[in-house]
Symmetry: C2
Subunit: 155 residues, 2 copies
DNA sequence: GGAATCCCTGGGCATTCTGCCTAGCACAGC
DNA sequence: GCTGTGCTAGGCAGAATGCCCAGGGATTCC
């Protein structure tokens, strides 16, 4: 469950140079190949490593605008709203949060004008009472995990 | 820049089974290996594929609590706040958004009690006027990209 | 109508990595 | 003292990679 120093270094190495194989990683870390293999297996069956899926940049496929929308949900409509938002491709992420039946979702759009269309589609649903949207201008800290991994593995 | 149908299928395949290699992917897609290799190279130099870093689950390394904090920033303090938040490992993501010098950040913590410590550390900084935090309870739609990819590649 | 260009195919090559195995060693807990 | 666990070090066959080439359609540009 907890990860040790070697796990931390392995994760950091994989994050920096994902294409390297088990053999190369073992060379870099100065341990035996079998060790790296065992650690990787453990991290994956542990659920620490969820996968190695390609990170796709929405901007590069034509969706340069990102926004966060806070949705106020009518009591008892949570499941319907979830199902509805799942069908909208521009909804990249959805969370339910503390508060008065609130949800937070991450949206992308082709342009600011297109964002209006997306929002209309998102909120054009019965269970949603109100929505407030914040458009992202800059992303000073892109989604990262390494600093946390280092802290969790004892620096 | 735009991606075609084959690109879309390739991305979807890689997202579903990231461990398969170029050769296996070419077999699945029914195209030549060189084609897959060329597409992958192009997608990566295009920036469509940012990388293949391991997706680490914060919950699995001891940070099961996620929250989003909206920060109100004192005029002109943006850079200092950014620098400050970058040093906090529990800040996984930071965006500046439209509004009155607002920022939105994603936090994780070891527990609800620990979240208080994280928030104190985040807002214990001069440039931050006010913070409002929403704790995530459920995550009905985890960060996803495939539906958008399919839409962008013409279904 | 050509000609040039681009993309894909299908194949070949040496090198490298993988998955799987064995055996020995050090260290912890019971 | 014994057992289990984790790491090292090595070996092996099979598979994949990176890189190369020649050829064929399709498209675009003169």
């Amino acid at each position: 469950m907890a990860i040790d120093h070697l796990d931390g270094e392995l994760l950091e190495l994989l994050a920096r140079e994902p294409r390297i194989g088990v053999l190369e990683a073992s060379r870099r870390l100065g341990v035996a190949r079998g060790t790296v293999q065992a650690r990787l297996d453990r991290l994956q069956s542990n659920g620490v490593i969820r996968g190695f899926g390609p990170e796709v940049d929405p901007a590069a496929i034509g969706y340069p605008v990102t926004a966060f929308a806070t949705l106020e949900i009518k009591q008892g409509q949570g499941n319907d709203v979830r199902a509805h938002l799942t069908t909208v491709p521009e909804v990249l992420e959805l969370h339910t949060t503390t508060g008065h039946g609130d949800m937070l979702c991450r949206l992308v759009a082709r342009s600011n004008a297109d964002l209006q269309r997306v929002i209309d589609r998102v909120v054009g649903f019965d269970g949603i009472v109100r929505a407030s949207t914040a458009i992202v201008m800059e992303n000073p800290v892109p989604l990262r995990i390494i600093p946390l991994v280092k802290q969790a593995s004892g620096d």
